[in-house]
């Protein structure tokens, strides 16, 4: 089979699952990397996207509507969580005038870690 057919040939569940996993991973990497609190939450939303895509793909391939039902709930919960998260971020921003996640380090153990850069 030629490369063209191979490349544009049949699309299976595995393709969708890979894309979903890749979205999830990119979201995870972003969460681990970025220090802006809002962008971090955005990356968690990206992870939701990946999960949702996987669910829909499974729903299609199993000919079952449970997957899509579940995605409805995922979106519901994502919305609720986004609202509350952003409210909290606003409050945190008011405290430190900065959106950096590294400002918040009080829950740490031992004196051998690097000291917090700013005391309040």
């Amino acid at each position: 089979m030629t490369l063209a057919t191979a490349a544009f040939g049949s699309v299976t569940l595995a393709h969708y699952l890979f894309v979903a996993s890749a979205l999830f991973t990119i979201g995870l990497v972003g969460f681990l990397t970025r220090r802006n609190l809002i962008i971090m939450f955005l990356c968690t939303e990206l992870m939701f996207q990946g999960a949702g895509l996987a669910l829909i793909a499974f729903s299609r391939f199993h000919a079952n509507y449970t997957g899509q039902t579940f995605v409805v709930f995922v979106i519901t919960v994502a919305a609720a969580e986004a609202a509350l998260a952003l409210a909290l971020v606003v409050l945190l921003f008011r405290r430190r005038e900065s959106l950096s996640a590294e400002e918040w380090r009080e829950l740490r153990g031992g004196s051998s870690c690097t000291a917090s850069r700013r005391l309040h």
Binding site: T12, L17, Y65, A79
Partner: protein
């Protein structure tokens, strides 16, 4: 474990993607983001090509071009979300990701979900995000990137993060692919759902004058007996014959989804509503401005009230 694709090639492609993402993440002194993006793209395409090769013997498949289109846009936009220095642009790219996800949902026959995604996610959640970003971020004027906050400009430990993430991806794909090779799409879901709604079938058949008023659809276990696009009908005189389903006897996705909701998960709708209510209350409480009252002011207020009432 029998793998869908050769695991070493798979892991190699994933590693390549990881390297690419690590390079693409923003750094203090400028980073080879384009190169990184290219490498990541290469990795992703490699995996998809592999899967394509493997899928050629897998049987029935779905339309493909749109998948690649929407998939590519989704992944590219997601990569841009995490690598862009400016938060507003990250949010905007996220909206692009959502739109391409919606496209993918469409080609998976989940029309309702696609539009629900766009309306709720892109239309509500992301707008909220944008508002908050604009509250808290000073946008650079012109090309002056020094105004950008430190925490936006440089990624934190990009190599380790990419490594952690892509190790997870390798594990995920191994697990998923080992199971996925045994699956194939099992036919049109719409027709099966149609079997759960015998009344709709009867209505559609009557509209097309395929059955008379007294004829009924044969019901077995609360489902109409549909086989290969033809339904068994019991005529008024007791004979059973097969009638071909007309093309417009299909149930739409929204209807199926609603039916599934109410038939199988009735209580969860209520719970979802409660969750949203709680979120609303929570947000209200959290964003209240704290007013600090002094003791004398409080007591003055008390006296005023006590005097008045």
């Amino acid at each position: 474990m029998d793998q869908l694709v050769n695991p070493f090639v798979l892991y190699g492609a994933i590693a390549l993607g990881g390297v690419g993402v690590a390079l693409a993440l923003p750094r203090r002194g400028g980073s080879p983001q384009v190169l990184g993006a290219l490498l990541a793209a290469l990795g992703g395409v490699g995996v998809l090509a592999l899967l394509g090769g493997a899928a050629s013997d897998a049987g029935e498949a779905l339309p493909s071009v749109y998948f690649y289109l929407f998939g590519a846009i989704a992944l590219a936009a997601a990569l841009r979300v995490i690598t862009h220095k400016r938060p507003v642009y990250a949010a905007l790219y996220f909206i692009l990701t959502i739109l391409s996800s919606a496209g993918l949902y469409l080609i998976l026959s989940a029309e309702f979900m696609a539009f629900a995604l766009v309306i709720v996610y892109a239309g509500a959640i992301l707008i909220t995000y944008l508002f908050v970003i604009m509250l808290a971020t000073q946008a650079p004027v012109g090309g002056d990137t020094s105004v950008l906050a430190e925490y936006d400009r440089a990624a934190r430990e990009p190599v380790w993060a990419a490594a952690a993430g892509f190790v997870l991806l390798a594990g995920l794909t191994t697990l998923l692919f080992s199971g996925a090779r045994t699956l194939a799409p099992t036919g049109n879901p719409a027709s099966l759902d149609l079997a759960a709604l015998p009344g709709t079938i009867e209505t559609a058949l009557r509209e097309d004058d395929l059955i008379g008023a007294g004829d009924k659809v044969v019901i077995e276990d609360d489902r109409a007996a549909i086989e290969y696009g033809a339904v068994q009908v019991e005529r008024a005189d007791g004979t059973v014959e097969e009638v071909e389903l007309p093309a417009d006897a299909a149930v739409s996705n929204t209807q199926s989804l609603a039916y599934d909701f109410l038939h199988n998960h009735p209580a969860t709708i209520e719970i979802a509503g409660v969750i949203l209510l709680m979120a609303m209350l929570g947000a209200t409480v959290l964003s209240r401005r704290q007013v600090i009252l002094e003791e004398e002011a409080k007591q003055a207020q008390m006296r005023a009230l006590g005097g008045a009432g």
